[in-house]
Amino acid sequence: MVGLSILVILIAVAITGPFVVQSPFEQFPANKLQGPSVGHLLGTDDFGRDILARIVVGAKYSLTSGILAVALGLAGGLLMGTLSGYYGGILDHLIMTVCDILLAFPSVLLAMSIVMVMQPSVYTPMIAVGLSSMPTFARLVRAQFMSLKTSSYVEAVRSSGAGDFRIIFRHLLPNSMGPIVVQATLRMGSSIMLASTLGFLGLGAQPPTPEWGSMLSSARNYIWTAPHMALAPGLAIFVTVIAVNLLGDALRDFLDPRTRDA
């Protein structure tokens, strides 16, 4: 519940915040790299922009990156997992081999190369992270379907003459939703982190977009002169991820008390 309340607050800030704070874009070069003060609660960045304003306005990117990436990964994973788990056979082998290959790639590198292949924008890292999480979801869905499809219940439905489509959408999917939702929520935290990592590596968000990862990246050059620049965006990512993770944990306990970490 702590997680949920933090998230609600974050979303509220992301929606209303931009109307309250100073401009996150207006530059005051004469005022640059100032530490926290009354006028700038979190200090100013290397252009003299208000860091608080940038954090607040940037909230939506991190939040959407988590949701979008997971939605995409889930959609792709569901499709692959369904084909693989329900129909089995050669298709199953093929899809699972591709998944294994993709999982052998370091996730950051996979996401990096996908971002580079696409046109750069705020959304590319989200898509890249989503694509790179597909294999994980595919495996989960497959495992669920495999165990369910041989259950006597599904056998019964099948013998009553239900088609594949009906079995998948009316019976298999609803029954495997629990673990999938849990996994999706848990995955959101790491997606937010991976997306901001890409921002940190300078891929994705376009300046002057106040994406948190890219804010941290520009703070790297000032760890001597203005360490405050690195604190706020990092803390923001941290709090968001922790909120999402807490929510995921709670959800898991609620939906399926027996699920384990592994």
């Binding site: 294994d100 370091p106 590198l109 990092g234 970490d261």
Partner: protein, 305 residues
Amino acid sequence: MLNYAMKKIAFTVLVLFGAATISFVLLHAIPGDTAQALAGPQAAAADVENLRRALNLDAPYGEQYLNYMGNLLKGNLGHSYRSNKPVMEIVAAAWPATLQLAACSMLVAIIIGLPIGIFAAVKRGRIGDTIAMVVSFIGVSMPSFWLALLLIMLFSVKLELLPFYGIVGPTSFILPALTLGSSTAANIARLTRTSMLEILGQDYIRTARGKGLQDQRVIWLHALRNAAVPILTIIGLQFGVMLGGQVVTETVFSWPGVGRMIVDALDSRDLQIVQGGILILAFTFAVINLVTDLLYALLDPRIRY
């Protein structure tokens, strides 16, 4: 068992060739042209074309792919487009740094994570458990690049205690290993706690307790041994995650490993190096998976293959 092992090995080889193919396709889809990148932004177009011919980069992609895979079969990773050094040599020079760092981080993760997990399981439901789990939660949710910056700011900039660039001595490992190991430590702690709790709840442990064995010995001997399988699995999996996570850590700590090598080579579109790097990481990951799979089979006789 032997049959199982052979199957696994064959599959690993298949995965590696798949990885080579996918990275080839992906890398050639990235905009940017190797010949142009090598010749630099100020080069005349005619010079770029001469260079492209000299490096045989004007061949159709299909032909380049077949050449590459053919060489790969012979164990040849090709030559760097930039320096003409054999990729194998460059990769082999960077690999130990990556592997050492991953091993150190794993060590850190186990040293921190395992005791915390055991402690939490023993103190189940009490305040110690809560604290341990909050700590592990923080560990999982900490963005590694931020943790790296914080560690540098505290230990190198403020306290001037620890080095934070390259490998200048054993102390060089501390900060990057902490950065890379923290989230794994947290994962290990959580998993250790869950698996121990589960096993402690099982009948035979209850029986052992009933027999009056000392509490400590019960925990250590029975529970831990039986929790070993899932813990081992997660360690194997996390090792792969670490290899991937090094891309960022190596950049921040100027670490001379494979991750940074790949990023550098990508900057100049020295695709042979990038591919060699990706392959060595995939190879490491696959071998570790293979070893865990086999160990798993050895440790837990219930597994059928």
